[in-house]
């Protein structure tokens, strides 16, 4: 399991445009980082670069406690972006079961996730019949179903109501208390104590 995330002198370029450069920060176990910045500043790109999906123009992303960055990425992080990857025509149960077992979760994890996100009644519905907030809960359930150290979340709370923002806050707290790390792009404050890193300032 990884015990820290180290971003050094990172620069990201999309096409001709330089989104940001010389970005460095460190997250250690139990720490949450809120990425703030204007629309289009590069928060999502940063998350994708940490996940290894996007090649940075300069700089490095390192995972402490891991021999190999590719291994760490495939075993120790969850990325949940704007697009949740859920197929509208399949049931929430099928989609969650796939996402969880693809990420190394098991039956017990699925049950835990359904309980934590109160998905009982939703699981048998087709994903396209869910509301935006319900759909986000199904997407986030993967975090609980397959425990991993680093959570990369893009606007995780945006479609959720106030009750659910609070409950997800509880999940985040538990994750951090267990030595997990959180890197979240947000516009509203996170419901857990977090260090703010401004992108594209």
């Amino acid at each position: 399991m990884i015990s820290g995330l180290l971003v050094e002198d990172l620069a990201i370029r999309r096409g001709e445009r330089l989104l940001f450069e010389h970005l460095s920060f460190r997250a250690s176990a139990g720490e949450a980082i809120a990425l703030i910045g204007r629309n289009g500043a590069g928060k999502t790109s940063l998350l994708r670069a940490v996940a290894g999906l996007l090649r940075p123009a300069a700089g490095t992303v390192r995972f402490e406690g891991a021999e190999d960055a590719a291994d760490a990425r495939s075993r120790d992080l969850h990325l949940i972006g704007h697009h949740d990857g859920l197929k509208g025509g399949r049931t929430a149960r099928e989609e969650l079961a796939f996402a969880a077992s693809w990420s190394g979760g098991d039956e017990a994890g699925l049950a835990r996730a359904a309980e934590a996100l109160d998905l009982g009644r939703l699981l048998d519905l087709e994903v396209r019949k869910l509301s935006a907030g319900q759909r986000r809960r199904v997407g986030l359930a993967r975090l609980v179903a397959a425990p991993r150290a680093l959570w990369l979340l893009d606007e995780p709370l945006a479609p959720l109501d106030s009750v659910w923002r609070e409950r997800i806050g509880g999940l985040l707290k538990d994750h951090l208390a267990g030595g997990g790390m959180l890197l979240a792009a947000v516009h509203d404050p996170l419901p857990v104590p977090a260090r703010a890193v401004e992108i594209g300032a």
Partner: protein, 221 residues
């Protein structure tokens, strides 16, 4: 359970979920092979000669049909991020997706091929070799076609573009398969055509996942 098996099951379920699995490709295949006698004339002698070749060519075209959605949907809805980050790696993901494509459409088409050839008047003796060519060739078409599907990710009108990219790459297996069928119909016989087709399919299965994964990474970047 092995994550790649989980993925294969999901791909097959999605193939059936998105527009009836092999049914559109089979309908296209039946349509093309039915139009041939209308175009070249119904004389049994003439049809019997071209029947295996037509059945074979129509199979190559029908294999193109459902390629467009092979990566496109996962790319659009973000599932490709999840698949790319998985432990098996993107190369294995691409291989499984192409395999599922073959199982979902290539296999049913392969069993339709000898039927179409017989309907057009090909001798019964040639049906097994048509089936064999269609099975092996279909595998090659699925993997090479997957390369086209991955390369066109993110472009509009991807379907036509896939055909333009992939059809020239279909030339070798079409030639080898056509040779195998001609050898089967001739008195001298021979298996070199079929062996070349098998070799080409093996190379496609081994190499195209690398190209598919590189193209997907490029699209995700």
């Amino acid at each position: 359970m092995n994550p790649l098996l989980v993925l294969l099951r999901r791909e097959l379920a999605l193939a059936w979920g998105r527009g009836g699995g092999p049914l559109p490709a089979l309908a296209f295949y039946a349509g093309v092979t039915t139009l041939v006698p209308l175009a070249v004339g119904p004389e049994p002698d003439r049809l019997a000669v071209i029947a295996p070749g037509i059945a074979w060519l129509a199979l190559a075209l029908a294999s193109l049909l459902s390629l467009e959605r092979l990566f496109e949907r996962d790319f659009e809805d973000g599932a490709l991020d999840l698949l790319a980050l998985g432990e098996p790696g993107l190369e294995a993901v691409c291989a499984v997706k192409a395999l599922a494509q073959w199982l979902a459409t290539g296999l049913p088409l392969a069993f339709a091929a000898p039927i179409a050839a017989l309907m057009l008047g090909a001798p019964v003796a040639i049906a097994p070799i048509v089936l064999l060519c269609a099975l092996v060739g279909g595998l090659a078409f699925a993997f090479v076609g997957g390369m086209g599907a991955a390369l066109t990710l993110g472009s509009r009108r991807g379907g036509v573009l896939i055909a333009v990219i992939v059809l020239p790459l279909f030339a070798p297996p079409v030639i080898f398969g056509g040779g195998a069928l001609a050898q089967a119909a001739s008195v001298t016989g021979g298996t070199s055509g079929l062996l070349l087709l098998c070799g080409w399919a093996a190379a496609a299965v081994a190499l195209s996942p690398l190209a598919m994964a590189a193209a997907c990474r490029n699209a995700l970047d």
